[in-house]
């Protein structure tokens, strides 16, 4: 079964700040599952704010759907805040690793050419295999994959989930948390 994309679907990046508790990923993913949305990429790490974890998820959907999904994620008790962005609001990156046959790579003649053109680098190498690394947007890592596949074949390939940072100055969350603490102080005083 192929996945049917909603009409007018666009790639959105959803950023979620959460407490670091067990089972959080499940709470997030079931909200996508319920609406039959495929998660394209996912990465989880600590944020710049201590104790708060950050999920970066990409998914294709219409904006109305994404708004509803983000609100339903935000509603979960352990989620501090969820946002969505389109590519224009973000600086984002993915990383890809390519395992290739060393003899075949050498047979291309100029390794330097491919490394320079794609701004890739060699991570490890034996006389049997070599591992290239390239960071970039999907289209860029995919272009290298395509060229290598066509010319010499790729033994193994992996691409990470998107990591993204908004173009605003700090994590927007810090403002929100500061405002919340202020309110608490007022309430408790």
């Amino acid at each position: 079964m192929t996945h049917i994309k909603e009409q007018g679907a666009k790639l959105y990046t959803i950023t979620i700040f959460s407490e670091n508790t067990v089972g959080l990923l499940n709470q997030v993913t079931i909200i996508f599952t319920r609406r039959g949305l495929n998660i394209e990429t996912l990465s989880v790490s600590q944020s710049a704010i201590e104790g708060i974890h950050k999920f970066t998820i990409t998914a294709f959907a219409g904006e109305e759907t994404i708004i509803k999904v983000v609100k339903q994620i935000d509603k979960r008790v352990d989620i501090v805040k969820a946002y969505y962005n389109t590519d224009e609001d973000l600086v984002y990156q993915e990383i890809a690793l390519y395992k290739l046959s060393t003899p075949k790579l050498l047979s291309l003649g100029s390794i330097e050419d491919i490394i320079r053109r794609y701004n890739a680098r060699i991570l490890d190498m034996t006389d049997v295999w070599v591992v290239l690394e390239k960071t970039g947007h999907y289209e860029e890592t995919q272009a290298l994959f395509k060229e290598l596949s066509e010319k010499i074949g790729v033994l193994q390939f992996i691409r990470s989930g998107r990591v993204a940072i908004t173009k605003s100055r700090v994590e927007r969350l810090s403002d929100m948390l500061a405002a919340m603490e202020e309110k608490l102080k007022i309430r408790n005083s």
Partner: protein
């Protein structure tokens, strides 16, 4: 500090939260909790149900009438699995319950141990919060957090999955108070500019209509609602969960919304110029086809849950916040107003409904008893003071259409999930939640048999619920759909029923069957005069129908009225 067991810490924490009643069922991984309860019998009433589903519905019934958190205690595995329907129901209907489940010892988690089920995984989609307690030291904190989350903001179910080792382990108990969670905003900030915008729209409105949802009751905003409506002279219709927020005899109460609601408010939804939705979520059973729903109106939506805004219906002015506050603020900015002409336009539709539907349902002169007739008689005989509990289906629609209410928190029904079998256990819980009120359950022959074992609970705990069985020997609501939309192909909706009065008798619950109009008054009187539980079986018209009806997915003005 004195060390106590996790189980004792649990019970102490429950008492600290003001819990007085538990609905539960013991089992292997909950024995330590039950052992502790044995010492707390004088302080904590445990109601032994006959099936864990019943425990959750009872907790719901308790919560709905009392406004307090309902509590269920069950064992691991099948015990907690049986609570799922009640948890899902509480999630849909925003009912604050806490389900406390035993779990296998932490050391056995993930090993497919006997009676282990992944409770957190299973319940996360249908709970406001689900948490696994793995050691005794967490218990006081987890209970405090559970009650805080279940009862604040938009209420909902919480599950605490307590591993056996946490129950038997020793801990320094100290009560915990939680009144803040940094990742959780129970009540969003009220935006004054939105209030002003809403007030302006309402002040300019010629034909305003308010839709009252359960949010009014959950927010204890009944008084504020009445002031709001009266000041600006706004007619108000109710969802089934919003019923009893306004008294039935309030002149501005123009009736029930939705698929089996009243003609007038459904039609007027598509005629009003301003629609003011208060603590309701535009369920499809209320809106019908969204593409034709209230397109002419500007829509103001008051809700505590931001994820409800624009979820089903695009809103012109969202007003986030607690209904008590937002209604109060909004009312301050309203002009005194009169909409006499507009309100008068509801009347002909009411007259039409009375003529074409209500008269023949409530006051038939010949033929078999009708469902509405029975509901009406019971409501009248209680002076419209009783708590209405319903099961799901025709009995429910007849109950909510014809029962009358004088005070708030008088309706316990499964709205969002539509859970057959909800009624009997929910009525049990309702009686504990409102011990001084008469609790009348309307249930069908189908739904009663889904949780009929709870008659045992009624017997054992001497619970005074009046059970009115509307027996039509069919799964009536599905049969109605089959008659209307499926060429009368009554696939699996015919019921071969037992003698219900004899079954009740086996549980020492008195009862009688009525088949004729002449004996109905007397039978209702007998039921209400009997001390304790009573089963009144009314053999009603087998192919009775609930009208009016807006067929699913069609426009709210597309109203079927039957043959009249």
């Amino acid at each position: 500090m004195r060390k106590i067991s996790g189980s004792q810490a649990l019970i102490e924490a429950l008492l600290h939260e003001g819990v007085d009643t538990l609905f539960g069922y013991p089992g292997g991984q909950a024995i330590p909790i039950y052992d502790t309860l044995y010492d707390y019998k004088d302080r904590l009433n445990h109601v032994l149900v006959r099936h864990e589903q019943g425990a959750t519905h009872a907790a719901q019934g308790y919560a709905r009438v009392s406004g307090k958190v309902g509590v269920t205690v069950v064992t691991s595995g099948p015990g907690v699995a049986n609570t799922i329907t009640g948890i899902a129901d509480a999630m849909m209907d925003s009912t604050p319950i806490v389900v406390i489940a035993g779990q296998v010892p932490a050391s056995l988690l993930g090993t497919d141990a006997f009676q282990e089920v992944d409770v957190i995984g299973v319940t996360q989609p249908i709970t406001k919060w689900a948490y696994q307690v793995r050691n005794a030291d967490e218990i006081a904190w987890a209970v405090a957090r559970a009650f805080y989350i279940a009862s604040t903001g938009r209420p909902g179910p919480v599950v605490l999955d307590i591993a056996k080792n946490a129950q038997v382990g020793m801990t320094d108990y100290q009560p915990v108070i939680i009144d803040h969670i940094r990742s959780y905003i129970p009540v969003p900030d009220m935006e004054t500019e939105k209030i002003a915008e809403a007030a302006q729209l309402i002040n300019e409105a010629k034909k305003p209509l308010a839709l009252v949802g359960q949010g009014v009751i959950l927010g204890n905003a009944e008084k504020e609602l009445l002031h709001f409506l009266r000041k600006a002279d706004i007619p108000a219709a109710s969802t089934i969960l919003g019923l009893s927020a306004l008294p039935s005899n309030e002149p501005l109460n123009v009736g029930l919304l939705g698929m089996h609601g009243n003609i007038a408010p459904n039609l007027k939804t598509n005629e009003c110029d301003i629609l003011i939705a208060i603590g309701m979520r535009f369920d499809d059973r209320v809106t019908g086809d969204l593409n034709t729903y209230a397109k002419q109106a500007k829509i103001i939506h008051l809700d505590i849950d931001p994820s409800e805004i624009d979820k089903n219906v695009k809103v012109d002015v969202p007003v986030l916040g607690d209904a008590k506050m937002t209604l109060g603020e909004l009312t301050k900015q309203l002009k005194e107003n009169k909409h006499t002409q507009w309100i008068e336009t509801f009347k002909p539709h009411w007259d039409k409904e009375i003529e074409s539907v209500i008269k023949s349902e409530l006051y038939p002169e010949t033929g078999a008893l009708k469902m509405g007739e029975v509901v009406h008689k019971v409501s009248e005989a209680t002076g419209n003071q009783a708590v209405l509990v319903t099961d799901v289906g025709q009995n429910q629609m007849m109950g909510v259409r014809y029962f009358k209410f004088s005070q708030t928190r008088s309706v316990v029904t499964s709205g969002g999930l539509g859970t057959m079998g909800f009624g009997l256990p929910a009525a049990i819980g309702a009686k504990f939640g409102a011990p001084d009120r008469t609790v009348c359950l309307f249930v069908g022959d189908g739904g009663l048999q889904m949780t009929i074992q709870e008659l045992g609970t009624i017997m054992q705990s001497n619970i005074d619920v009046k059970i009115i069985l509307l027996n039509n020997e069919y799964l009536g609501m599905v049969r109605q759909w089959q008659e209307l939309f499926w060429q009368e192909r009554y696939s699996e909706t015919v019921m071969n029923n037992p003698d219900f009065v004899k079954i009740a008798e086996a549980y020492h619950i008195p009862g009688r069957t009525v088949e004729t109009r002449e004996e109905l008054d007397e039978a209702v009187k007998q039921m209400l005069e009997t001390k304790g539980a009573y089963l009144l079986e009314a053999k009603v018209l087998q192919k009775g129908m609930v009208y009016p009806m807006v067929p699913a997915g069609t426009c709210v003005t597309n109203i079927l009225l039957g043959e009249e």
